[in-house]
């Protein structure tokens, strides 16, 4: 990249996570996704005259849970404000959001970036309501309020990230934390998690942050990287050309891999925040907060480190295993049955992950066999009932049919040939018909050993038990 050494980059992320309560933040409308148009709309969602908001207790619980999973300080008093602007997807003419006094302050997220542990600090996390959705048809737009009022937690990082990779890693980790805490499915494409990136650049020796540009409309982790990458280049180009960088919002166009100016943040964008007089301050009892925090299970980074420690896995393996909570849960359930962490990890991150990726399963909890059944398969391999190669075949069959490995091996006759007498005679006849090779072997061409094994496997269609074959061959070839 040109001129890259001349500048420092500062990236901050604002992540909106939909909290998965059944009903909306301030109304009793359902939060279900994708039902008929305006079907999940109550009088409150549509801003009818005389209606008033009432805060959903579950949204509060989920917000506290999320914020503490992000290591934030939960505030005993937080206050909702009105953020005012006219937009058709915002029925009241204001969004109810926490402004001066958010529910959570500070916090941090730890993660591994290229095997190195980094920490990104958070500024705050606050509760707010989502807007509706508008669809554009040239001459007019159509408004669906199903999403309007869905509870959100907006997670705001400090503007301290220095590379697009770091920003993407941070976003991925936040998603992982949300999923571990079971507060949000973190689906970027469907918009249950949305990332806005604030990007600014400055000269290497400049103290003050540069003018920040907000990037919106980024719906994959890969695009976070690409959008920031593009934007940094654009800003560098601007400065190099002696142009000014405007404080503005830009949309990322993933097809053209470009950011496009949406609107300039001028004086006209005066949100006139003031405390929402229809809601009292949110007062939380310490005991209530503690109870929610205590329900929180282990987060991803803790789990990674525990896996490395307790199971002697490599960091890379541990990271792969913990990428999804359900996968790491499956791993732990499996090693309770078969205490071979390395083997279990290899199988899970290898063959099983391949099958999972080829499938269209929503998440790991939906895989078609239990940890128990899976451990049976691994045990059969370990006990030389089947070979590793056959094991892969059996696994695929298990995935397709949900049958037990025993059933599959039996039905298909895949169990290993370990009858020594039978193998003895097979091997004898093979050696007899390859006298020349036997001679060469005995004269020192030990590489030929593999050839004999191959012949045995060919003769037995791969079912010969390798240790027994080895034992007999070694003896006969002496």
């Amino acid at each position: 990249m040109i001129f890259k050494d001349k500048y420092k980059v500062n990236i901050g992320l604002e992540i909106h996570a939909q909290l998965n309560s059944k009903s909306k933040c301030f109304s009793s409308a359902s939060t279900e996704f994708g039902k008929g148009h305006n079907n999940h709309v109550t009088l409150i969602c549509a801003g009818f005259p005389g209606t008033l908001p009432v805060l959903n207790a579950e949204a509060v619980r989920l917000a506290i849970k999320t914020a503490s999973a992000l290591n934030c300080n939960i505030q005993k008093t937080s206050i909702f404000s009105r953020k005012q602007y006219f937009y058709p997807d915002m029925p009241k003419g204001y969004q109810i959001t926490q402004f001066e006094y958010p529910i959570a302050l500070n916090g941090y997220v730890d993660f591994y970036l290229e095997e190195e542990k980094v920490r990104v600090e958070l500024e705050r996390a606050h509760m707010e309501e989502d807007a509706g959705k508008s669809t554009h048809y040239g001459e007019y737009s159509l408004i669906n309020l199903n999403r309007a009022g869905t509870p959100l937690l907006e997670i705001v990082s400090k503007p301290i990230m220095t590379s697009p990779q770091m920003a993407a890693g941070f976003a991925k980790t936040v998603r992982q934390v949300l999923r571990y805490a079971e507060v949000c499915d973190g689906n970027l494409e469907q918009g249950s998690m949305r990332c806005d990136c604030n990007v600014s650049i400055r000269l290497k020796d400049e103290e003050k942050l540069g003018t920040k540009v907000e990037l919106k409309n980024i719906n994959s982790f890969r695009f976070i990287e690409k959008a920031i990458e593009y934007e940094v280049q654009r800003q560098i180009q601007c400065l190099e050309n002696g142009e000014e960088i405007f404080q503005e919002t830009r949309l990322y166009d993933s097809v053209k891999n470009k950011t496009i100016s949406m609107r300039k943040k001028e004086a006209a964008n005066d949100y006139r925040y003031f405390p929402e007089p229809d809601l009292m301050p949110l007062q939380l009892e310490e005991e209530f907060i503690n109870r929610i925090v205590s329900e929180l299970s282990e987060g991803p980074i803790v789990r990674v480190e525990r896996f490395v420690q307790d199971f002697q896995l490599s960091l890379e393996e541990a990271l792969l295993l913990t990428s999804e909570r359900e996968l790491s849960d499956f791993f732990e359930q499996t090693i309770l049955k078969i205490n071979e962490p390395k083997m279990v990890s290899n199988w899970l991150t290898g063959e099983v992950t391949r099958l999972y990726n080829e499938s269209s399963l929503e998440d790991w909890s939906k895989i078609p066999f239990s940890a128990d059944t899976f451990s049976n398969l691994l045990n059969m391999i370990n006990n030389n009932e089947i070979s590793g190669k056959i094991g892969k075949e059996v696994l695929e069959e298990m995935w397709k049919t949900s049958k037990t490995p025993q059933e599959i091996v039996q039905e298909k006759g895949l169990s290993l040939l370990s009858d020594e007498n039978k193998l003895q005679s097979i091997i004898e006849s093979i050696l007899n018909s390859h006298q020349d090779k036997v001679e060469e072997y005995r004269n020192g061409k030990v590489k030929l050993y593999g050839f004999f094994v191959g012949q045995v496997m060919k003769e037995t269609q791969g079912q010969a038990s390798p240790p027994i074959v080895n034992k007999i061959l070694k003896e006969k070839l002496k």
Partner: protein, 481 residues
């Protein structure tokens, strides 16, 4: 005569089958029709009332403390299946899909809504002149205003269109028209009556309350209207005990120095002096209290109310309900979003409403927020604290409701400051969320009524009513009203 009867009498006689509910309803309904031609107090009659009355006569509805009692409801309370407009053009044609909580509670006790009453647009006004339905006139003198914003509700009760009406009070909107029309009106403690279904003007000030021709009727209506509603987060779980007259309580009555020092019409001053004399004769103690921050009350009130209103009225945008007026010349309509908003809002909202939206938008805007809105909220606390101190010295506070009796229609129309100053005696209690009421106290030389204001400590609504009952008794005995 039937229309002279109190609500309590009517309900009792209907329950005892001495009166037919339909007869009651028809009588009031017809009286409404006739009387309304004089004052324009009502903007919509509800013909469904007669059907509801029949149900009572047929024995299908048999209980309720207001069984068969016709009531008039201010047009800012949503009523299911009825147009509800807060007397604004911008809500033209809006048929509410639900009923306000406090109206529902009254209906559950057998009350029958027979009409919706005129008001200042979105309750912004002190004269009922800003209504999109034209002004309401004062029934005592048709050249004068009935007060506002609950002008229609006050006039309707004065005209005996119903024994009880429902109003709302943000800065005096029940008390001032009650005073101008010679009826009793109560604004309860902020948070006592659920605001759910009452079209918002200023959220931290708005309270619904009843108007009636006597304290007992008003007290009964209020008792029914009060009740915990989970749909209003500012609603208090309120323990309202209906008042019982405790004889011989020696009250300590406070009078606010600043109120008595204001420029009062001589007859009002006299009325107050008489009242205080009666108190002393009864052995009650009268003490002077101070609300030193009274002089800031009008700017504080108008800044806070306008700020909240500017926000509360943003929802009127012509998208989901009500008026959409976007036609420009030769049959075309505007197709640019900002202009779309501006056209509907500018055509649908009246001048006083616009003035307050501008004021509120300004007070909340960047660079002015601290200096105007927040400053006003700070002074609001000072006024609240003044009252807290005052109530250490007395049980209740009495004083005038307004400095003068009803003024002429159009008299203050061109001068917003004059109009705003009219509320000087009512807004301090509103800002402090205190229960307060207006009780007819006398008439001036022209025969125009004026009321006494009672202000009580927060949450002591039932004690206020108990006290008011005794004061009412004194007025009756003294031949004052």
């Amino acid at each position: 005569m039937l229309i002279e009867k109190s609500a309590i009498e009517i309900a009792k006689e209907i329950k005892e089958r001495k009166l037919s509910a339909l007869e009651v309803c028809e009588t009031f309904y017809n009286h409404c029709k006739e009387e309304n031609q004089k004052t324009n107090a009502l903007i919509r009659l509800d013909e469904r009332a007669l059907e509801k009355a029949k149900l009572i006569d047929e024995g299908k509805v048999t209980s309720g403390e207001l069984l068969g009692v016709p009531i008039v409801v201010k047009d800012n309370f949503c009523i299911k299946g009825r147009e509800t407009s807060a007397c604004s053009k911008i809500l033209e044609g809006f048929v509410s899909p639900y009923t306000a909580h406090c109206i529902e509670r009254l209906e559950k006790q057998g009350a029958i809504v027979i009409a919706q009453s005129n008001m200042d647009e979105f309750a912004m006004g002190s004269s009922n002149e800003t209504s999109a339905y034209g002004p309401c006139k004062n029934p005592i003198d048709l050249t004068r205003v009935p007060g506002g914003s609950s002008g229609g509700s006050a006039a309707a009760v004065a005209q005996k269109m119903a024994p009880i009406s429902v109003g709302s009070d943000t800065g005096g909107s029940i008390r001032q028209p009650a005073s101008f029309c010679g009826v009793t009106g109560i604004k309860p403690t902020y948070g006592a009556v659920s605001r759910y279904g009452m079209i918002a003007f200023a959220s931290s000030l708005d309270q619904a309350g009843p108007l009636a021709r006597n304290v007992n009727d008003a007290a009964l209506a209020l008792k029914i209207m009060i009740g915990k509603d989970v749909r209003d987060s500012t609603n208090i779980d309120f323990d309202f005990k209906s008042h019982k007259e405790t004889k011989n309580k020696k009250y300590k009555v406070g009078i606010i120095k600043e109120f008595f020092e204001s420029d009062l019409q001589p007859e009002i001053k006299n009325g107050l002096d008489n009242m205080l004399k009666m108190f002393k004769d009864k052995g009650w103690e009268v003490v002077e209290v101070e609300i030193p921050h009274t002089r800031f009350a009008i700017p504080v009130y108008y800044l806070i109310a306008a700020s909240e209103a500017s926000s509360n009225l943003s929802r009127y945008d012509g998208i989901r309900y009500g008026l959409r007026d976007i036609n420009i010349d030769d049959g075309r309509s505007v197709n640019e979003l900002k202009e779309f908003y501006k056209l509907t809002r500018s055509r649908g909202l009246g001048n006083e409403v616009k003035r307050r939206i501008l004021l509120g938008t300004f007070a909340l805007s960047a660079g002015y927020y601290d200096e105007f809105y927040i400053k006003a909220c700070r002074v609001r606390r000072l006024i609240f604290d003044d009252f807290q101190k005052a109530f250490q010295k007395c049980d209740h506070i009495v004083g005038p409701v307004t400095t003068h009796t009803a003024f002429k229609i159009n008299e203050k129309n061109d001068d917003p400051i004059k109009m705003y100053n009219n509320d000087i005696l009512t807004v301090p209690a509103s800002l402090s969320g205190l229960p307060c009421m207006s009780l007819p106290m006398g008439k001036d030389d022209l025969g125009l009524p004026f009321g006494a204001q009672i202000i009580s400590p927060q949450f002591e609504d039932s004690k206020m009513i108990e006290f008011a009952s005794q004061v009412e008794q004194l007025f009756v005995e003294g031949g004052q009203i």
